[in-house]
């Protein structure tokens, strides 16, 4: 083996490791959020008016963990914004809930307002809580 080919193989090896590493580090997050997206499509996970994701029925442990993880991150974001605006975390979360219900929930996905039952969004816009005025 010549020195040139050795260098070439070394470079190739590094490239393979780099690509594999990037793939491995990226894939878990993608798989998890993909699982939540799939669960939302299946109607087992949905947006709530309180600004958090909720679980409708039973889901896999992975989906449950990812929903909880997302909700913890959402709460952190709500807490930051609430402090900046001088409002409660619950108000910031509820304002975001208005947005998700008005603009994010797709037809066929489920959503919940307050402690009410889970509902499936039809072709019409979701009837928002009264405090969501101008949510669009």
């Amino acid at each position: 083996m010549t020195r040139k080919s050795t260098l070439l193989f070394a470079a190739l090896g590094l490239a393979v490791v780099g690509v594999a590493g990037a793939f491995l580090s990226a894939s878990p997050a993608q798989a998890q959020s993909g699982a939540v997206t799939a669960a939302m499509g299946a109607g087992t996970v949905g947006e709530q008016a309180d600004g958090y994701l909720g679980i409708n029925g039973s889901v896999s442990a992975d989906v449950r963990a990812e929903v909880e993880s997302i909700n913890i991150k959402r709460r952190a974001a709500y807490t930051d914004l609430a402090a900046k605006r001088g409002v409660t975390v619950a108000d910031m979360a509820a304002a975001t809930g208005c947005q998700t219900l008005a603009n994010r929930v797709r037809q066929g996905q489920v959503y919940r307002i307050g402690a009410g039952a889970w509902q499936t969004k039809g072709s019409a816009p979701i009837a928002l809580p009264g405090y969501c005025a101008n949510a669009n």
């Binding site: 959020s33 108000d91 910031m92 304002a95 947005q99 998700t100």
Partner: protein, 79 residues
């Protein structure tokens, strides 16, 4: 006004025999008492509940923040 009400309150009981008269007087008393407005200072502070209105204004003001949050953090808002 309040003096008249006090006079009515202090009235002696009617005689047992005068039922019709008593009835009419009682009716009159009721009407008079009904016309009395008693104003008392409330023993509790007056509360006006504006929570709903305030919450509505707060939430509306936050809509823009919420939109930005969703746009800037798509991983937190899967669809």
């Amino acid at each position: 006004m309040s003096k008249m009400c006090e006079q009515r309150d202090d009235r002696r009981p009617l005689r047992a025999g005068g039922y019709a008269l008593g009835g009419a007087a009682a009716m009159g008393l009721v009407l008079l008492l009904g016309g009395c407005i008693s104003v008392k200072a409330p023993d509790k502070p007056i509360e006006i509940n504006l929570n709903v209105k305030v919450q509505q204004e707060v939430v509306v003001r936050l809509q823009k923040d919420a939109q930005d949050l969703i746009q800037n953090n798509p991983e937190l808002f899967p669809q």
